[in-house]
């Protein structure tokens, strides 16, 4: 299982990449393994508002469903439309399969380092 050092993480298993005044959000390797084969993701639209600590997408596997929680408040500027047709990309390349990009950032949840996150997944 991989935990790229350059990313920050949430306790609810999202990864976050900050660039200038925008952040990119995806699901971690750990999250995709827990879910199993992902069959569907319902993503927001460009222009939608997301709120820190609130779900903005559902990912479904055959026998489970999980919410993706936004670590930040802001406006969605880009969505990864490719995931709609190929949700399995999240299983295959979790750190390339970003879900949304957000700017006009407001409140931010507490983020943790790769090391802290790896520790968290080991504690279960």
């Amino acid at each position: 299982m991989s935990f790229p050092k350059e990313l920050r993480y949430t306790k609810t298993h999202e990864w976050v990449k900050s660039q200038d005044d925008s952040v990119t959000i995806g699901l971690t390797d750990f999250a995709q393994k827990e879910l199993g084969d992902i069959v569907f993701i319902d993503i927001p639209e460009v222009g939608d508002q997301v709120t820190a600590g609130v779900s903005f997408a559902d990912v479904e596997s055959v026998k489970a469903v999980s919410e993706v929680i936004s670590p930040v408040s802001g406006i969605v500027t880009e969505v990864n439309e490719d995931l709609v047709d190929a949700p399995e990309t999240i299983n295959e390349k979790p750190y390339e399969a970003w879900i949304i990009k957000v700017n006009e950032l407001g409140d931010m949840e507490e983020l943790i380092s790769a090391q802290e996150y790896e520790q968290l997944t080991k504690e279960g």
């Binding site: 069959v39 569907f40 319902d42 479904e60 596997s61 055959v62 026998k63 489970a64 469903v65």
Partner: protein
């Protein structure tokens, strides 16, 4: 009586002993003594099969099954080919459960897949679920699937079936969602009224085709208004009429619901019936209930499974949009066998016969003074007439002749004619009505 227990009392005593208990009540030791019944229930002792049949036959004999049924209003007396009952009484189908174990249940799963396809063909829609409880609850579930954070209001045509309106109203009250009815003008849902009521909070608009008054709605105009406001158009349809009338897909409906009873199910005093639900492709993942999909097994053979299950209550629990966890599989099979037996021509024929016989009867009935059509629009096989005498009195008089009249609505009557009524029968009914009304 035995309770259909295969084991004898001696065997049961042995089994109890073999696991270390003396008395059957030892197994009920967790039940507090205050709630453990000390005496038998106050209901009669069991009956033999012979006695129970005689008792139930005696109860049934207190009903009148009318040889001539001219009443529809949500339950329709269409002809049911003998093959329907013969197929669906097979024990493998009737005594099985929801097909959770696909490897053991390919027959059931495939039959549902075929049903889904037939409903799509009949309605013209892209996707159908595995069926719902009945037409009314199907309509209510369809309304619920349109709700989202921004759109929380439901509009229902006042010309829909009163029990469908009532059911949607209940579901809206349950979800704390505003519910309003769209008024009727000259037997049709009032397009102008809809325009004035609909807004950017409206989630969906439900109309029925043909409507409860028997009239063919201007569904194209109504659905256009609905879509312009960004709401979803739901159409409740009478499946037999789709052998003739424009499909909900051709009217650009987003979701279609209906009562499947006319597709090979008996009247049965209101149930079991069959709800069906179909929609445009983009709404697939909002559908409630079971859905069967095609896939392959581990050897590459075609296989069928329950699919898209992450929508459902057993996974999503309180976040599921519906609590439905069963369908009416055996009723869906009745409908599938009916549709397959009738085929495209048979369905067209049932529709055409119902249409022409209804129009013939209307023409003959309105020759009697005091009977006239209340609405002048086009209809399929139901229509409302005035009645020159007290409508209840006419209903009673016809009952004595073995005729279940049209449904009495205030002092008018909602008549229904299906392919089951021959010209001779219809002429006799008209003759009888003439006699009753002359006295």
């Amino acid at each position: 009586m035995g309770g259909y227990l295969p084991s004898t009392q001696n065997e049961r005593n042995d089994m109890l002993k073999s696991i270390g208990y003396k008395d059957i009540n030892d197994l009920y030791k967790d039940v507090p003594s205050q709630v453990l019944l000390k005496t038998d229930l106050s209901i009669p002792k069991g009956l033999s099969e012979m006695d129970v049949r005689s008792k139930l036959d005696g109860i049934a004999a207190k009903n009148i099954a009318f040889p001539v049924v001219m009443r529809g209003a949500g339950a329709y007396d269409h002809y049911i080919p003998a093959i329907v009952g013969s197929v669906t009484s097979k024990e493998e189908f009737s005594t099985t459960y929801t097909p959770y174990q696909a490897e053991l249940s390919q027959g059931v799963l495939q039959s549902i897949f075929e049903f889904q396809t037939m409903i799509c063909e009949l309605t013209g829609m892209d996707v159908s679920n595995a069926s719902m409880y009945d037409g009314s609850s199907s309509a209510a579930e369809a309304a619920m699937m349109c709700l989202d954070r921004r759109r929380q209001q439901v509009l229902v045509s006042q010309a829909a079936h009163p029990e469908t309106i009532e059911t949607i109203r209940t579901y809206c009250w349950g979800r704390n969602v505003p519910f309003n009815t769209i008024p009727v003008k000259n037997g049709l849902t009032d397009v102008e009224a809809l325009k004035s009521m609909i807004n950017n909070k409206t989630a969906c608009v439900f109309i029925q085709q043909p409507n409860f008054l028997g009239q063919i709605e201007q569904a194209d105009l109504l659905n256009k208004v609905t879509h312009e406001a960004g709401a979803k158009a739901i159409m409740g349809v009478y499946p037999t009429s789709l052998g003739m009338l424009k499909t909900p897909a051709e009217y650009d409906a987003d979701i279609v619901t209906g009562e499947g009873q006319p597709l090979g199910l008996a009247l049965n005093y209101g149930g079991p019936y069959l709800g069906f639900m179909a929609c445009k492709k983009e709404l697939t993942r909002s559908l409630p209930g079971r859905i069967v999909g095609e896939t392959k097994d581990n050897k590459g053979n075609r296989a069928f499974v329950l699919t898209l299950q992450a929508r459902e209550q057993h996974i999503r629990r309180e976040k599921a949009s519906s609590n439905v966890c069963s369908n009416q599989a055996l009723c869906a099979m009745m409908a599938a066998v009916y549709m397959a037996a009738m085929g495209p021509e048979g369905i067209e024929q049932a529709a055409a016969l119902s249409f022409h016989k209804a129009h013939y009867f209307a023409q003959e009935l309105t020759k009697i003074e005091g009977f006239s059509l209340i609405y002048d629009g086009e209809y399929f096989n139901e229509f409302i007439t005035s009645c020159p005498i007290d409508a209840k009195q006419l209903e009673r008089a016809l009952m004595e002749k073995g005729i279940l009249s049209g449904l009495v609505l205030d002092n008018t009557m909602l008549w229904c004619v299906t392919e089951k009524l021959s010209k001779e029968t219809l002429d006799d009914v008209v003759k009888t009505i003439r006699e009753v009304c002359l006295i």
